[in-house]
Amino acid sequence: MQVTSRKFKESAHEAMADEDLRAAMNRIRTAFTTARADAAAELPEFESLRDQAAEIKDHVLDNLDYYLEYFEQKVVAEGGHVHWCSTAEEARQAVLKICRDANARTVTKGKSMITEEIALNKFLASEGIEPIETDLGEYIIQLADEPPSHIIGPAVHKTREQVTDLFHEHHQQYGYQDREEDPEKLVGEARTVLRHKYVTADVGITGANFLIAETGSTVIVTNEGNGDLTQSLPKTHIVVASLEKIVPTLEDASTLMRVLARSATGQEMSVYTTFSTGPKRKDDIDGPENFHVVLLDGGRTEMLGTELQELLRCIRCGACMNHCPVYHAVGGHSYGWVYPGPIGAALNPQMVGIEEARHLPNASSFCGRCEEVCPVRIPLPKILRYWREKTFEQQIGPQPDRWAIEWWGFFAKRPWLYRQTTRLAARVLSMIAGDKGRIRSLPFAKGWTSVRDLPAPEGKTFMEQWKKHNREGR
């Protein structure tokens, strides 16, 4: 997809003026967060499971080469194929080759962030192969020609009216002439339209939540059942997955399953968790004849052994964005690439370059809620700080920010001067504010004062008050 992270500030401003988006973000803030808290409270072992989930991922990342080779050997033993791809382009070409071999004209797709990452739909369409998204949210944004705005709810930013308009425009060709507004009827329309596509598609493409070394299985979780129809009806099933998705055993997968849905939607389990191992067996009467795993690196191995390795623990539940005040304010599209929210702010600089994504590490209030709710305990604020340091070192932050930091640094290194200056500033601000104690407008602080008043200091600095406090022996 087109990277627009560079325009984060402009996009965020536009997003904040969008009333529909405000309403959608309010729904996330209340529904997802409450559901997660309830699910966590229901399971006494939840916190210990999070510790173990993180340990399992760390263990895998330390031994990734071993588990990948083990996984490959098992997939092959069950009659499947593994395609190793260093880059997005290699992954696109691998998928295309399999589609060509299957003489594919249409491809149904389950939800997959990796296929977003490699911009597969656009590529397949340019090669004359029609990709059809089947997850309802993905289907909606495919009709709208937009990228997803949330990892697990790609169309959370869309209102019912917008879905009504999209379906009315695109479903007339299937005989739906009425403008339908009832969500149940809208879902029914999509169900009927897509049902026929599943049956006639030549290839089904899904992602993977986990890859299991022990058995050579790929695992997807869905609530709709679209992934199952996508992979069991066409003759060829392609799994597109990134290589850090691997776990050693079914037992390890079970531990991760226990934290995944609870963190994502607050469900104990998603409705369908599907383990796929190889193509249909000799006597099976349904299932795909060909089973391929396209295994993407896409810059991930470069993160191993660095300050960024912990990002590879991510199981893509979306809890960090559900709990992020900045995401709530600006929505997913502002982040300008596939992954929004705190995980996107931490990951995208590595994936698209810090120069392009330089604003993203600042898209955080450092409140730390993302780390508090992350099922695999990724220290997201620490990684955002790492990127802030990088942008400063590499001199790619905005010049006024750099001046401000250098100016502050000058005073901070000279405590006496610092105290005198802050004393003076506190008194001046207090004078400007007058009796009201609030400042309506201030040079160099328009970003703050254009939308709200600045509460003024009351006259003395913290250090002054602290000294006084100690002198008086209280």
Binding site: P44, E45, S48, L49, Q52, D62, D65, Y66, Y67, L68, E69, Y70, A77, W84, S86, L136, I140, G153, K158, R160, V187, R191, L194, T215, N223, E224, G225, N226, D228, S232, L243, P248, T249, L250, E251, D252, S254, T255, Q267, E268, M269, S270, V271, Y272, T273, T274, F275, S276, T277, P279, R281, D283, D284, I285, D286, G287, D297, T301, L304, T306
Partner: protein, 225 residues
């Protein structure tokens, strides 16, 4: 150099080591072979009767319906009653499994039993579960010549039959049961199903029956346990 070699090479370079071999590799091989369990939630540790109760409570909480029958022979009559209560068509797609096809369907002549894989026009599907997992109210279904997975997904209404003797507490017990029955290699698909299909992709309004079945009914057979 192939992409495979490049990727493995990068992993080893970043980790500042060569390929894992000898004792290191043996340790990892053993870790896989051990199938060691991590933390298993306490709630799964129940006697069989408690597991069945928990399973039913969880399943019904997920929007499915459940019922218990004393013996498999009761299934055809119960299905006839269920279809009539729900006002569903009497043609049902049944997995070609002896457990189901061998039942006395001739006692319910109004029901048309069609044996095979699921198809687009099926309204009701009937299939056997391999296991029930009480912890979360989850069915474990295996694909195979007698149990095509499409019966679980294509029909608008799904009825699953689960023997109470196949109920377990936690996922880990189900994996062990699967290994015991099937060896180390898994069938083409293992489907864990927790309730009927749903979506909340339009303004987070919960709608049942997105792509999979709109209803799920589980018949628990008390087979002498």
């Amino acid at each position: 150099m192939t992409a495979r070699e490049k990727i493995l090479g990068r992993i080893r370079a970043q980790k500042k080591r060569g390929p894992l071999a000898g004792a290191d590799a043996d340790l990892l091989k053993q870790r896989i072979a051990d199938h060691a369990r991590n933390i298993v939630p306490e709630r799964s540790r129940l006697p069989k009767a408690g597991q069945v109760d928990l399973f039913q409570t969880k399943m019904e909480g997920l929007g499915a319906t459940t019922e218990r029958v004393a013996s498999a022979a009761d299934i055809p009559a119960r299905i006839r009653d269920y279809l009539s209560q729900k006002n569903l068509p009497t043609r049902i797609k049944v997995s070609p499994s002896e457990i189901l096809t061998g039942l006395g369907w001739d006692t319910v002549p109004m029901i048309e039993v069609v044996v095979g894989a699921g198809t687009e026009e099926d309204m009701v599907g009937l299939s056997p579960a391999f296991a029930g997992i009480a912890e979360t109210g989850t069915l474990m279904m295996l694909s195979g010549p007698e149990t095509p997975s499409t019966v679980n997904f294509l029909p608008e209404n799904h009825i699953a039959v689960l023997k109470v003797s196949d109920m377990v507490g936690a996922f880990e017990e189900a994996w062990d049961a699967l290994r015991a029955a099937h060896g180390e290699a898994l069938p083409r698909t293992v489907n864990l199903i927790s309730g009927p299909s749903r979506t909340a992709d339009i303004e987070q309004t919960l709608i049942m029956g997105a792509h999979g079945p709109k209803t799920l009914h589980v018949i628990l057979v008390e087979d002498g346990t």
